[in-house]
Subunit: 243 residues, 2 copies
DNA sequence: AAAACAAACGTAATTATGACGTTTATAATT
DNA sequence: AATTATAAACGTCATAATTACGTTTGTTTT
């Protein structure tokens, strides 16, 4: 057996976007469309990803891919898993010849997910033909990208219970009910509003603003913000075996 | 800029071993020793890792590395991060020439950690000159492996609070105090024994055996075991925003 | 038999949780 | 101007979990 020294290195990005209005957690996917002279070969959706450039860090590569797709920078990003099994041959063109020997290029991809607000992304004139899909209503997905999305989602579900990453998916100013809706969307559960409300309001890092919703046709809700500073200070000593 | 199609792919394994007697969480490291004709070039410790073979999955590769190092299979394993920055040039021999062009091979490594008991590993006649080091007293570490160890440890700290992986580090039959010692070692905190004891005993997946310690010079402690079956059944509905 | 000591049990005050019922403030409607 | 509809917000009570301690018990060693 010999080590494999020739392979594709790419990053793939699972872009999670939350829409506060429709209360749905979405994934941003791009169209893959290939046809030969006689037939349509593939017509499905895939994640955005790209080869890692020479002299580029993995993180920078993911950041670049997100920027090209959405125009956004400085979004929450997490490298959550590498996928690189030998059967992961993605593209017929991933064959190269060196010194008269043919190599199947293994495609190893470092998978990231991003958390952002759908409203921050303008998909008009998007060159990738990108579209949001609710996490629970994904279209036909190409390559092994469905697996990657599912694993990203699993990671997100676990992580949002122990870290305040949920607020990356919400506007800076939010209502208690918006936070609840988001938890419900992600976890697929029902939460008692009165208990949830009490719990959240009692957190010192959830700060009531001198502001209420405007333009709603019911009693406008109190707006809150999340303070990362206070959060960080609190959790220097946190010990909780919830196991 | 061009995509990088030629690189080293390896796995690196952070092997955590817990020693119930000395109550210390250790990392298994191997000696790296290189000298030229005139001087010692490096004399430090590194993680075990190796190139991923052609036609081998990443997981299999890590499993193989652990087996070669310790003889063990079927240990708890987690892929926790990929490291692959372009400055990660590990070895002078990582230079190759293709068609008269010189390539610096970027070394991308998929990092895993393992959880096991030091007592399960026999280091006599170990061909790698492997040694256990307490996580808080690491020697000089080569390459960027200290960073990898630190990140593995961080992941372990977080994960052991929400998942019962702690039991992978303990013998099948353990005492309550051994579990407490382990938590204290990993987290670097003091826990009140009386409260910890009550909390653990009340978990339905912690099962008291009809057995006590033998050969101890004080009151022998009750032995317990962990039931993964019961644990799994309980956590179908678990929802806990501890945030 | 006594001493030493870790193991194991106990208690009371406080805080968090789960499961509900009730009131309030606003915009829209009459 | 009063009424209605409705989401927002508050309240209560029983139970469970946590914190911070004190006390007893069962072995082995002296």
């Amino acid at each position: 057996m010999k080590p494999e020294k020739i392979l594709n290195l790419s990053v793939d990005c699972v872009v999670f976007g939350y829409d506060t209005n429709t209360k749905s957690l979405n994934v941003l996917l791009i169209k893959r469309f290939l046809e030969s002279e006689t037939e349509v070969l593939v017509d499905d959706y895939v994640l955005t990803g790209y080869h890692v450039y020479k002299d580029e860090t993995l993180d920078d590569s993911a950041t670049r891919v997100l920027k090209e797709l959405t125009g956004l920078t400085n979004q929450y990003k997490k490298q959550f898993k590498a996928f690189g099994n030998p059967d992961r041959l993605m593209n017929p063109k991933d064959l190269i010849w060196i010194e008269n020997e043919e190599f199947n290029l293994r495609t190893i991809t470092i998978a990231y997910y991003f958390l952002l607000k759908t409203e921050d992304v303008d998909l008009k004139d998007n060159k990738f033909d990108a579209k949001w899909f609710p996490i629970n209503a994904l279209p036909e997905i190409g390559f092994d990208h469905e697996k990657i999305i599912v694993e990203a989602y699993e990671d997100l579900k676990v992580k949002c219970l122990s870290e305040p990453i949920i607020f990356k998916l919400l506007p800076d100013k939010f209502t208690i009910n918006e936070v609840q809706d988001l938890y419900q969307s992600i976890l697929g559960i029902e939460i008692d509003n009165r208990n949830f409300r009490r719990k959240l309001i009692n957190k010192k890092y959830i700060i009531a603003l001198d502001e209420k919703q405007v333009g709603v046709s019911k009693k406008p809700a109190q707006l809150y913000m999340f303070s990362m500073d206070i959060y960080k200070k609190m959790f220097s000593k946190n010990y909780l075996i919830s196991m």
